[in-house]
């Protein structure tokens, strides 16, 4: 029995701030940052957008693409590290907004940047076991970076929803298998009630990102007996442009394989939406029969790797909702003052 992606939908807020503008405020060298991070601008949510509204927009795009009856959805899981409520699920808001309620289960996920793919895996399990017909897995974030912190240059906003199912005629892409690599690694965290996360600086690279991404990717390829050259495309979690490029090279993937899914230079790190955004951008242009290799990473730390094969159905559904490139064209650039206002960094009396 095949399990896979029935439909997908993305959402990216319209506003952008350029690296130069953030660097101007803090007296940093913008050129050095852009070259080092391979990020040139990042998305900024509107004043009235949060992880829930982004999750809803992405899920609605996925529903528009699928054309399925929302009543068939048996589970809605939203992964985020910026859920608007500490207690009260984002997923119930999403489920109500896509009219999937009430005969279904829902819960919120958190695993830094890989909460979205963790939700995909949970839906694969429920769908594969026959417990539910369809499952909606979402990764959405309005991520936070403290003023002047390195994260402020990349912490962005966006989300992607994947409708997971098992009816072969409905699948736009088959997920052949998934594999995870997880350890307790304190590379990044945010304590309850704190507005901004803390990170281990350089520690986040080797022991965090690279160890987990490469082991997760190798683990899945060993399990399936595949090699990098068996895939047409590859997507790796993109906290910046440099990390996924380096991970791809280490593993033996080419620049051509990762380029279609590498959206971080234009929108920044959308956290729980990051790897899924790369998968969505790749699905936007993949042809039937193409194979996609994807590995998400979440600090804390773990990776989820996926091997995906695109089916004929992709051509049918692709244009029923905006593609990632359509979503990110025509941005509105804002200055740091307006960015601070949008992000709630200015407190009114």
């Amino acid at each position: 029995m095949a399990i896979g992606i029935v439909s997908y939908g993305a959402y990216v807020p319209r506003y952008r701030i350029k690296i130069e503008e953030i660097a101007r405020l803090w007296g940093d060298n913008a050129e050095a940052l852009k070259n080092g991070l391979m990020v040139y601008e990042k998305s900024v949510p509107d004043i009235d957008e949060d992880a829930a509204t982004i999750a809803v927009e992405a899920a609605r795009h996925a529903m528009a693409r699928s054309g399925v009856d929302p009543g068939r959805i048996g589970a809605v899981y939203t992964g985020s590290e910026s859920h608007p409520y500490a207690v009260k699920p984002t997923s119930t808001i999403v489920a109500q907004a896509i009219r999937a309620t009430p005969h279904m289960t829902a819960a919120d996920f958190e695993f830094a940047c890989k909460a979205g793919t963790a939700a995909v895996q949970a839906c694969m399990g429920l769908v594969g076991s026959g417990m539910v017909d369809l499952g909606m897995a979402i990764g959405a974030d309005v991520s936070q970076g403290a003023p002047s912190d390195a994260l402020e240059y990349t912490a962005a906003a966006g989300g992607v929803a994947c409708l997971i199912g098992r009816k072969e005629s409905e699948l736009a892409a088959i997920i052949e298998d998934t594999y995870s690599f997880t350890t307790d690694t304190p590379d990044f965290w945010r304590r309850e009630g704190m507005p901004y996360p803390e990170h281990g600086g350089r520690f986040t690279g080797e022991p965090g990102y690279f160890k987990h991404v490469t082991n997760g990717a190798k683990g899945l390829m060993e399990k399936l007996g595949t090699k990098p050259e068996d895939y047409d495309y590859a997507v790796f979690h993109q906290p910046n442009g440099k990390f996924p490029s380096k991970a791809a090279k280490t593993l033996g993937f080419t620049k051509a394989q990762i380029t279609p899914g590498l959206v971080v230079p234009k929108i920044g790190n959308t956290y729980s939406g990051s790897c899924l955004m790369g998968i969505a951008a790749t699905l936007d242009q993949a042809k039937p029969g193409d194979r996609i290799f994807a590995t998400a990473f979440g600090s804390g730390a773990g990776s989820d790797a996926f091997s995906i094969t695109v089916t004929d159905r992709i051509e049918e559904i692709r244009n029923r909702a905006p593609t990632v490139s359509e979503l990110i064209k025509d941005p509105i650039y804002i200055d740091y003052a307006r960015y601070a206002r949008h992000k709630g960094k200015i407190r009114l009396a």
Partner: protein, 132 residues
């Protein structure tokens, strides 16, 4: 907007523009009506979900914001005529200088407001220019 039950009762209308329609005369209602204003007891009301596309009938730019909206000013408040007929008042998200009477709009899901830092967050439908 400080009543949790009042908001919860209208979730369907706020999230998905759920209204009603009279099968007899074809008139659409938003917010939903249980009795047709034209046909009275001869009318037959059924649920109807609006597509959400429509146009700006008139609008105003709010500079002196109501409590809880201070962070959003200036913002556009408009009377929107949905394509099926009913008119409603809503915020239109976007650059104020681009707003104009007759502008086509489409719905988006946004935060409508919140009861301070401890209270509930109210979500629902706002509008954006149709080409945005």
């Amino acid at each position: 907007m400080s009543s949790v039950p009042r908001f919860w009762r209208n979730l369907g209308s706020r999230y998905n523009l759920e209204g009603t329609r009279c099968k007899e005369c074809g008139e659409h209602f938003y917010p939903p009506r249980n009795v047709c204003v034209n046909c009275r007891r001869e009318g037959e009301i059924e649920p109807y979900t609006f597509t959400g596309t429509g146009e700006i009938v008139t609008y105003t730019l709010i500079h002196t914001a109501a409590e809880g909206f201070e962070n959003q000013s200036p913002y556009t408040l408009a009377i929107i005529q949905l394509d099926e007929g009913p008119r409603l008042t809503s915020q239109v998200v976007g650059e104020p200088e681009k707003m104009h009477i007759g502008m086509r709009v489409r719905p988006v899901f946004r935060k409508l407001g919140e009861d301070g830092e401890r209270g509930m967050i109210y979500y629902g439908t706002k509008f954006v220019p149709a080409d945005a």
